[in-house]
Structures are given as C-alpha cells and as structure tokens.
Symmetry: C2
Subunit: 184 residues, 2 copies
C-alpha cells in the first residue's frame, strides 16, 4: 500500500538549512504553545553550524590520512605546555570518552606523531608528548586551514564576532556549572 506525496514536493523547494530550521521551529511552537522558540532556534543553529564545519574540516583532513578527531587531539597536545598532556585531560577537553582517547592515541603513536610514557610523579598516569614529526605535521597543515576558516567567518563584523564569542563563553560556562551542580 502506498501513500500520496501531498505537500512533499512543495517542501522540497524550500531548501536551505536556515529556512528549514525556521519553519520547523514555527511548527513546533504551533503544536506546543509554550515552546521557547528563540532558544530552540539558537540551539539548532549552533548544532547545525558545528556539524557542517566539522564535516568540512574532516573533508580537508582525509587526504592527509587523518580525521577530525585525530587532528583535534594532536592540536590539543601541540597547544599544551611542553607539548605534553595526560590522556584524561585530552578526553575531558575534547568531550571524548576515555576509551576512545585510548584508541585515538594508539593510532597517533603508531604513526609516530605522539609518544606514550609512564609518569614518574603518579604511576597511574601516562604522559603523552607530541614528537617532532607530529609538530611538523601540524605546522604544515594548519596554515592550509586558516584561510578557509577565516573565509567562512568573513561575513561577520568584528562586533558580531565579539558578541558571539562572549555569548558562547557564557553558554559554555553555564553548561559546565550545571554539569558540576547536577552531579552532586
């Protein structure tokens, strides 16, 4: 048994993600009167933009044999003092499970970009360090990405960027606070 398509064709012409989010939010609030429209829209936009950007970076990294998570982890290490950090730090800041971090580090070590050594101070801990090869890779790739990144954001004014940065920092802090508070 098959169904008629009704208004599906009409919808297909409304194509951009932004429009799609707007109309979806409208429908939700029509059905659920008290829904916080603006907040929903904002959250969905953040999610959509983040996913899109991730996909874009991933596409740029693939040809070089790594994915976004690998690179992000390597960057985190690259940006750490002395190029060193513990796995648990990385997993915390990358919103990644420890299990997964073990796997990611495995593959980075295997490719010679990172070393893994036992810590003297606390023998439960592991000290990860980026190698010269790892640093060279980052230094070679990063400059290629920066122009793309800047061009995505070039439609924003300095003021807009500033406001968004501040706003996101507040949200991040708020989320972190509620995570702490919620656990107790």
């Amino acid at each position: 048994m098959s169904k008629p398509d009704s208004k599906l064709e009409a919808q297909s012409t409304t194509c951009s993600v932004v429009e799609q989010i707007d109309s979806a939010v409208k429908r939700v609030s029509a059905i659920i009167p008290g829904a916080p429209k603006d907040d929903i829209r904002l959250v969905r936009l953040i999610h959509s933009v983040a996913a899109d950007m991730s996909a874009r970076f991933d596409g740029m990294l693939r040809p070089h044999g790594l994915n976004e998570t690998d690179f992000r982890t390597l960057m985190q290490l690259f940006c750490s003092p002395d190029g060193q950090a513990h796995p648990s730090d990385l997993s915390q800041f990358a919103t990644q499970s420890r299990t997964n971090m073990t796997r990611i580090v495995d593959s980075l070590v295997e490719r010679g970009w990172v070393t893994r050594d036992a810590s003297d101070v606390d023998r439960r801990r592991i000290v990860l360090a980026i190698t010269p090869d790892g640093e060279a890779l980052v230094k070679r790739l990063l400059p290629q990405f920066h122009p793309k990144l800047s061009s995505f954001l070039s439609i924003l004014s300095v003021d807009e960027k500033q406001t968004m940065t501040e706003g996101l920092k507040k949200i991040a802090a708020s989320l972190e606070a509620s995570a702490r508070g919620g656990k107790s």
Copy 2:
C-alpha cells in the same frame, strides 16, 4: 623509560574549557604568527558548546530508550508538513549520511513511531510518516527538555541571543554557499 611531568600539574589547575581554549589559541598564534586567533577561538567555542549540549540532551533521552540522533530525526518528521518527509531530506538537514538514515529509520519503524511507504509520484522514493505513537512520544518528551534548554541560555540577553542567531544564520548560509560553489 619514563618522563618527568614538568608543568603538567600546573596546567591541571586551569580547568574550565573556556580557559583551556583561550590558552590553546594563544599558543598556536605564538608558534604560527599569522594565525587568525579570533576566528579559531570562535570555531572551537562553537564546536565545544555544540558537543556539550548534544551530550546533555543525549543523557536526558537515554532513559527513554532513544539517543539524540533518533530523537532529532523524529523531531524533523514531527515538524514536516503532514508529518511526512523523504529519507534523503532528513539526511540532508540532519547532516547525516543516507546509509545512517536507513538504519535510524529502521529502528524508528521497528518501534512503531514511523511508517515507511513507497511513493506514488516517484517510485524510487520512500515516504516516511510519523505515527500517532511517535507524535505522542514527542509531545510527552519535548516539554521536559524546554526548561533545561532555556535555562542554559538564560545567561544571555535578548540582544545577545538575537545577534548570535543572526550570526549563526550568516555562517550557515556561507557554509552552504561554499559547499555548492566548491562542488562545481
């Protein structure tokens, strides 16, 4: 052979994600002079906030037997005209592969929240439709999430929200445009 921990302990005290991003950006731009600091910070913030929020929603959904992707997909359908859409539409707007959409829909159909029927208009296509059960689920769960969502964003002023929404819309459009242009 083991390594000394050097400054790792000092870093561990600098804990919040925001601070961590800030100091990481500082280090990158110290090593790579031309790096667009503000843009990098903004992108990392967007990513971090999106990941955190996703994790939060996922945690709220788990007890009800679905994950974030399942729910997002169901919502998309809930918000579509007549509660109907094609799989390819959903995968496009959810930044999700078609393959994965097949799997997700499989599980939604299995649980009786969605129906899958052949289209009359174009026999290649499938028409997905949310069932009364599916609608009931959404209507039951949504109101629980809205307060949480609003409270995360309550540290922002109306103006800030407005600016961020506009900014994100611009970025989304810019990404979409570059995706189209880049393909030709």
